[in-house]
């Protein structure tokens, strides 16, 4: 199952766990399942039907351009990261 790495400021929602293994075929499904296990988590990363505008999600080391729609594999590693700007 995919492994979700929890941002340190959101670990209060996962009982301090740094990462959680959650089933799901897309990032959105993983987040929904994670929220069932740890209520409140979804509201921290999702706004409406998309990721919060201040956030991006990385799947297997690459920024997932599909956001919540991005497909994940059984062995995927998922990280929520701040959205990147640049100069």
């Amino acid at each position: 199952m995919p492994r979700v790495f929890i941002p340190s400021l959101l670990r209060k929602y996962t009982g301090g766990q740094e990462s959680v293994v959650v089933p799901g075929r897309t990032v959105g499904e993983v987040v929904r399942n994670l929220d069932q296990q740890f209520p409140g988590f979804r509201n921290q990363v999702v706004e409406g039907d998309d990721l919060k505008s201040s956030l991006a999600v990385s799947v297997d080391g690459d920024i997932a351009v599909g956001g919540l729609l991005e497909q994940v594999r059984e062995s995927s590693e998922i990280h929520f990261v701040p959205a990147i700007g640049g100069g």
Partner: protein, 759 residues
């Protein structure tokens, strides 16, 4: 196996003359201020003399009565905005439209000296200036806060009354955001350390220092469609921001990007574009041109980058292995939230593979201009602190500073501070490139009566991908044109054209690149985040391959065979079936009409596979003990480019970023008086380095192919600014025998250090 490192490119890696070079050299290139239209008006902005004050009233009647004045606007003329982030800038980062509008023209409070309050359009710039003096603004001055630590204290003057402490929602605060990255057991890590170094550092607000001040020419007639000509890094960003502030559908705004005289991140947002459009609207659709003065640019809402306070504690074993790191970073956001502190939080430690770390970051409001992106935003501040502490650890371990860094280096598979594992990266290679440089192998000679020192530092920048579009048109003479939406700041027209030329088997000069307006090309994110050669280059590569696909079909028609029996090799169509002589593009082009008509290749990408960038800087300095002036004697920079498409422009980026980093290190700073007025708001007083101050910067391009790009390309535009302030601080510290902790290391500051040393 054919890789970007072994492939024998014909165009990539060469150094052709840039396509836009002649226009720029002879003055034919059109910059924003060069545009003019019949009946054009001139816009000016009235700016606040107060750093913090409530606006009790604005009376524009006298100004409107002045002959020649055609419009006066204030914040109230923008479409109503909310704080909800409703769109994205640069493809990913959110923008708060109420803050954006309130920064351009103040809503009910002015939050820094130079904050825009009202704007005028008149038949001449002089009448517009005269009209500004006739606008009556009644202010109620408020307590102000300029110092970062003071702003964080309970009881500080509050800049935004809506901001609340996360832990105590009833209490107001100037802390607009908190960030944290944490892994492992920090206490156990420090217990395992034989050597611990802990320091506090400080940097001041600095400006990007682009030569061309912000400008805009807006045309907004009564048909609901607006056009703006402007110097910008992000035409599509200007489009959506202007449309939002004017209450228009996005597609009703067309942005025509001019040539750009520098931006370095600051021109990824709007400064006066919506104001020019608003004034045009109120002036019956007449074109309105606005060009900021240098003082407005420095003092006003164009966005310098943050000053910061940086506390770093790191522990290492005596064998030179870093076992724990703790960092506390506070960055000035200016008057509105949004400093790049979180980028500092994860970039500072990223060169190193550290098991236990804790990084906390704070985004803090002060009564100074809202900060904006500046080349690798946030990373230079953090690297300054971390790389100085790393240098001390290396010294205390008795190790060469580069060997120490290599021993602790991040590499492929290392989990980055942000979380995801690094792909193939070139950090070790850039360290080794400096170690092997002639500069490093040449001992630093001391001279009587001077202090000399040598310092190294390294830096990381994540680089961007985002969205790009490209169109390649094939012409009957066998040449091609390339149209993209990426404003060319650092030679990207040349590099993207070279990619197309490589694929199509043409010379670089046979591909003519152009930057299109927002109606003429698909969505393209801004020129920032070191993304253009990587992502727009990828779009150009795919568009060229789209052309190749079509050319193979045309060659198949000529040869009367199936397209599957045609290969494209080294810029030629090859028949796999009938042994016909190969056809080049130049030979195929005249036959396009009879084989199906015009050929155009297209590509739209949301680029993944971004390759992180690393750089290392080596600098020798000499200090005059009498004047405390630091002279840079020699400077070498190594950077991993993945694959350098046009090595000269990669070197140019490395040299440019390094020079900006050296200026940040040595002299540049915003100097405020106690009323919050910037005292050095010109290039005479804001001391940027000139060619007389610096030696030739020696660039060493390292090429560790990015596995995420078909040509191995990594972004090259930003990371070189990251290491120099720490490298200079390490060199000066060695020279004077005392740890330098504050930037800039200007003569007044360094003189105090030298005086203390003399006792």
């Amino acid at each position: 196996m054919d890789t970007p490192q072994t492939h024998q490119f014909k165009v990539i890696g060469t150094r052709p003359v840039r396509h836009d070079g002649l226009d720029k050299v002879i003055g034919r290139a059109k910059y924003g201020a060069d545009y003019s239209f019949p009946g054009m008006l001139y816009g000016k902005v009235l700016r606040s003399p107060y750093a913090h004050a409530r606006i009790k009233s604005i009376n524009t009647e006298k100004a409107l009565r002045l002959p020649g004045v055609k419009a006066v606007v204030t914040h109230a003329d923008f479409a109503p905005q909310t704080t909800a982030p409703v769109y994205r800038m640069g493809g990913e980062a959110a923008v708060n439209p109420l803050y954006l509008a309130s920064n351009i023209l103040a809503k009910d409070k002015v939050l820094y000296a130079g904050h825009g309050v009202a704007a005028v359009a008149a038949t001449s710039p002089h009448i517009a200036e005269e009209a500004l003096a006739l606008i009556e603004v009644e202010y109620e001055p408020l307590p102000l806060v300029l110092d970062l630590l003071e702003a964080m204290k309970p009881g500080a003057a509050i800049i935004n009354p809506d901001l609340r402490r996360k832990d105590k929602p009833d209490e107001q605060t100037n802390i607009a955001g908190e960030f944290q990255f944490k892994r492992g057991d920090i206490e156990a890590g420090f217990k395992a350390a034989d050597i611990i170094v802990e320091r506090e550092f400080r940097t001041e607000m600095v400006h990007q220092g682009y030569i061309e001040p912000p400008n805009a020419l807006g045309i907004f007639p009564g048909d609901g469609h607006a056009t703006v000509y402007t110097s910008t890094q992000g035409p599509f960003d200007v489009r959506i921001m202007s449309a939002t502030l004017l209450g228009l559908p996005e597609g009703n705004v067309k942005v025509v990007p001019a040539e750009i005289g520098g931006g370095f991140g600051a021109k990824l947002t709007v400064h006066i574009e919506p104001v020019a459009l608003l004034l045009s609207k109120h002036a019956g659709g007449r074109p309105v041109k606005m060009v900021m003065t240098r003082t407005e640019m420095m003092r006003g809402a164009t966005g310098p980058t943050s000053g910061s306070i940086l506390r770093v504690k790191m522990g290492a074993t005596k064998e030179g292995r870093i076992v724990a790191a703790k960092a506390w970073f506070a960055y000035e956001a200016g008057a509105f939230p949004g400093s790049p502190v979180w980028l500092g939080c994860f970039t500072g430690l990223s060169p190193y593979d550290i098991e236990n770390f804790l990084v906390d970051g704070y985004d803090v409001l002060v009564n100074k201009p809202k900060t904006s992106s500046y080349r690798a935003p946030g990373a230079t501040n953090a690297a300054f602190a971390v790389e100085c502490v790393v240098d001390e650890l290396a010294n205390r371990c008795g190790m060469d500073p580069l060997d120490f860094r290599i021993r602790n280096a991040s590499r492929e598979g290392t989990q980055s501070v942000m979380g995801p594992k690094f792909p193939r990266i070139g950090y070790i290679e850039v360290c080794e490139a400096i170690k092997n440089s002639q500069h490093y192998r040449t001992p630093l000679a001391q001279v009587p009566g001077k202090y000399r020192g040598r310092g190294v530092a390294t830096g990381f920048w994540i680089n961007g991908g985002m969205q790009s579009s490209a169109i390649v048109n094939v012409h009957a003479d066998g040449t091609a044109s390339l149209v993209t939406g990426s404003v060319d700041i650092g030679g990207s027209r040349a590099s993207t054209a070279m990619v197309v030329a490589e694929v199509l088997g043409l010379r670089a000069e046979d591909v003519r690149p152009a930057v299109a307006d927002t109606d003429s090309i698909g969505y393209t994110d801004g020129t920032g985040g070191s993304r253009v050669a990587f992502a727009t280059g990828l779009a150009a590569y795919q568009a060229a391959h789209d052309v190749v696909r079509q050319l193979k079909e045309r060659a198949a028609k000529v040869w009367e065979i199936s397209p599957e029996d045609v290969a494209w090799v080294d810029g030629k169509a090859i028949s796999k079936k009938n042994g016909a002589p190969p056809l080049t593009l130049k030979e195929l082009a005249p036959r396009l009409t009879r084989t199906g008509g015009p050929v155009t290749g297209r590509a739209n990408v949301y680029a993944t596979g971004v390759g992180p960038a690393f750089a290392a800087c080596l600098v020798d300095v000499e200090i005059d003990p009498e004047t405390a002036k630091v002279q840079v004697l020699r400077c070498t920079v190594a950077q991993d480019a993945g694959k350098a498409i046009h090595p000269s422009y990669v070197e140019g980026q490395m040299q440019g970023g390094t020079v900006q980093g050296l200026g940040w290190a040595l002299n540049e700073e915003y100097v405020y008086d106690e009323k919050g007025t910037l005292r050095n708001a010109s290039f005479l007083d804001y001391r940027m380095p000139t060619c007389l101050d610096l030696p030739m910067i020696e660039p060493v391009i390292v090429e560790v192919a990015n596995p995420g790009h078909p040509l191995g390309v990594r972004g090259v535009g930003e990371v070189s600014i990251v290491p120099p302030p720490a490298a200079v601080a390490n060199a000066v510290s060695m020279a004077v025998g005392s740890r330098i902790t504050d930037l800039p290391i200007s003569p007044p500051r360094l003189f105090k250090v030298l005086a203390a040393r003399r006792g």
